[in-house]
C-alpha cells in the first residue's frame, strides 16, 4: 500500500472550537497534508495559524471535528494519546518535577511495560545521545534550560516513537543556545531516523532545519515544499512575505507560453516570469522578485529604474531601498565582496537588472 510509506496522512482535517455564545473558531479548515517517513517536516506560520492545533490533533490531545489522520495508513484520529506511537517535546518541556532526569527518561518505557534491564540500557543510551550522562540523578529543577530541553528530547525519543512532535521547543532558549540546538536536532533526527514534525513561527529556523515545510495561515496550509521550493517559488503574497524579504511588482500579462509569461510591469518595462503551477490568475497580477536577484546598474540600463531612498549596511551585504517610477518600493541586496555592485548614494537615479528566470507570478 502506498499509504504505509507515509508517516502521517492528514485528510480533510478541520477543527472547530466553540467560543462563548454563538462564536465558532475554525482553527483548522479542511487541511490535507502528507508527511513522509523519516522526514524533518516543519509546520510554519504566525501564531493562531493552526499549526499547534494540527500538532495537538496528531498527538491526541484534541480530536478533529472532521477528517481523518492516518499514521502508517491507520486512522488514529480518535485514539487517546496514550495509544498512539507518537511522542511530544513540549514548548515548556513539561518535565516531571518530582522525578530525576533518569526517571523522566524512563517514564514512557515503564508505561509500555518494558523489562527493567532494557529500560536501564535504553535510558543510558538516551542520556548518551543527548550528551547528559553525568546528570542522570539530578532533579529536573537543578539543571539549566538547555539541559532541560535535552532531557525532554531524550524522554520523548526513548520509547522510539514512529513520529516525534516538537512544539516550538527552542523558543525559550537564548540565541546562541538555539543555534546549537538546531544543529543538535538535525543530528538527532538523522541518527535516530525518526520522523520529526516541528512547529515554529521562526522562518529562519524552518529554512535551516527542514526537509520540507508547510506554510500555514488562518487554519489552512498554503504551500508545502522544500525550503528552496518555498523560498524560490512562493505561491502567494502571504508565503512570499512570511519567508525572507521580497519585492512585489504589479503588472499585466501580455502573452504566455510554456510556463513563462511576458508581463507588462506597472512601473514600466516588461519581464519574463514563471507562471504558477495552478495557472495564471485573472486580471492584474503580482510578481515576486527576491532582493538578491536584483542588481543595481547604470541609470537607463536594466529592467527597472528608480531613485535611491535609503542605504542600510549589514556587514556581509548592503540593502539599497529604492522608489520606482510609479512609487513602488523596491529593495536590492548587494553583496559587499570587493568589486561587486554599483556605488550609489541617497537621491541617485539607478537602473535595476533582474536575473533572468527568477521573477515569479503569484496566485493572488
Amino acid at each position: 500500500m502506498a499509504s504505509t510509506a507515509n508517516a502521517i496522512d492528514a485528510r480533510g482535517v478541520s477543527k472547530v472550537f466553540k467560543g462563548a455564545g454563538q462564536d465558532e473558531v475554525r482553527a483548522l479548515d479542511n487541511v490535507s497534508v502528507t508527511i513522509r517517513e523519516n522526514e524533518f517536516f516543519t509546520l510554519l506560520g504566525p501564531s493562531g495559524c493552526g499549526k499547534t492545533t494540527l500538532l495537538r490533533l496528531i498527538a491526541g490531545f484534541d480530536f478533529p471535528t472532521e477528517g481523518e489522520i492516518l499514521l502508517h495508513g491507520e486512522n488514529i484520529a480518535l485514539l487517546p494519546p496514550y495509544k498512539r506511537p507518537v511522542n511530544t517535546v513540549f514548548q515548556n518541556y513539561a518535565l516531571f518535577p518530582h522525578m530525576t532526569v533518569g526517571q523522566n527518561i524512563a517514564f514512557g518505557l515503564e508505561m509500555l511495560g518494558k523489562p527493567k534491564d532494557e529500560i536501564a540500557a535504553r535510558v543510558s543510551e538516551m542520556l548518551k545521545l543527548v550528551r547528559m550522562e553525568e546528570l542522570k540523578d539530578r532533579r529536573t529543577s537543578q539543571i539549566s534550560g538547555g539541559q532541560q530541553q535535552r532531557v525532554a528530547l531524550a524522554r520523548a525519543l526513548a520509547p522510539r516513537p514512529k513520529v516525534l512532535l516538537l512544539d516550538e521547543p527552542l523558543s525559550a532558549l537564548d540565541y546562541k543556545l538555539r543555534k546549537d540546538m538546531q544543529i543538535e536536532l538535525k543530528r538527532l533526527q538523522h541518527d535516530t531516523g525518526i520522523t520529526f514534525i516541528f512547529v515554529t513561527h521562526d522562518q529562519e529556523e524552518a529554512l535551516t532545519m527542514s526537509d520540507r515545510i508547510a506554510v500555514m495561515s488562518k487554519g489552512k496550509i498554503l504551500q508545502v515544499g522544500s525550503p528552496h521550493d518555498i523560498y524560490v517559488r512562493p505561491v502567494d503574497h502571504f508565503v512570499a512575505n512570511f519567508i525572507g524579504e521580497t519585492n512585489f511588482l504589479k503588472g499585466k500579462v501580455i502573452s504566455s507560453k510554456g510556463g513563462k509569461a511576458t508581463v507588462e510591469l506597472a512601473p514600466g518595462g516588461t519581464l519574463l516570469a514563471d507562471v504558477p503551477e495552478a495557472g495564471l490568475p485573472k486580471g492584474e497580477i503580482s510578481l515576486v522578485v527576491r532582493p538578491e536577484n536584483a542588481t543595481l546598474v547604470k541609470p537607463g540600463k536594466g529592467d527597472l529604474s528608480g531613485t535611491v531612498e535609503t542605504i542600510v549596511y549589514f556587514g556581509t551585504d548592503t540593502h539599497v531601498h529604492l522608489k520606482l517610477t510609479d512609487g513602488t518600493a523596491f529593495m536590492v541586496r548587494q553583496q559587499n565582496a570587493a568589486g561587486s555592485g554599483v556605488d550609489v548614494k541617497t537621491g541617485d537615479k539607478a537602473g535595476i537588472a533582474i536575473a533572468a528566470g527568477t521573477p515569479r507570478i503569484l496566485m493572488d
Partner: protein
Amino acid sequence: MATERRKPFAIKAQPGFGLVAMLCFFMLYLPIAILVVYAFNAGENIALWEGFSLRWFQSAWANETVQEAAMRSLFLASVSATIATIVAGMAAIATTRTAPYRGLTFKYAMINQPLMVPEIVTAVSLLIVFSRFKVWTGYSGIGYLVLAHTAFCIPFAYLPIRARLENMDLTLERAAADLYATPWQAFKRVTLPLLVPGLVAGYMLAFVISLDDVVITEFVKSGGQETLPTYMLGQLRRAVSPEINAIATVFLALSVLLVTLFYFVNRKKN
C-alpha cells in the same frame, strides 16, 4: 524616591497604621498569652498569679474524663479529616480537571456550603435528622459525630487541594498521557505525587477544624460522648479550674506544631 511616587496608595505610609496594627495584635494575642501564662499558675484562682507550677498539666493529664475526651477528640479528628480529605480530593479533581460548564460555580458553592451556612443551623438540622435516625436504627454511637465532622471538614480540605490542582501545570498530565500512561497511571504517577502538599494541607486544616468544634458536636453528641472542647465548655459552667488553661495550652501547642510542620512540608515540596 522616584519609584515611590508611582505607587497610588501605600497603606504603611498612612498615619496611625502602626498604632492600629499594634492594637490588633494585642487584641488577638493578649488573651491567649494570659491563658497560657495562667496555665502555669500554682494557685487555684485563674486570675491571681501565685508562682510557677506544672500541677494543672499533671492534674489534667491524670483526669480520666479529660483523657477519655482527648482520645475521642483525636479519634474523631483523625477519622473525619481522613474521610474529608479523600472526598474533598475527589471533588477537587472533578471540579478542576474538566472544561468549565454551566453549573460549575454552583457546585463550588454546594461544596463550600458549610463555610457559608451558620454553624448553628447545621447543628440544629443535624440534631433533628440524627435523632430520627437514632430512633429508627437504635444506634447512637460515635458514627454520627464522624459523619457530622466529616461534612463540615470537607470545604476546609477542599480549598487547599483545589488550589494546588489549579496551580499544577496541565501539560505534565498531558506529557504523561503522551508517554503511554493511561489516565489512572497518569494520576498515580504524576498528579497524585504533585498533589501531596495540597492533601497534607487539607488534612491538617480539617484535623484542626474538627478538633476545635464545639457547636455541632454539642448538638449531635449522645450522652457520654464528650470531646475536649465540649468537656471544657461543661467545666466552665461550674467552678473554673486552671486545668482548662492547661488543656487549652496543649491544644494551642498542638495547633502551632501542625501549622509549623505544614509550613516546612510545603516549603520543601516547592
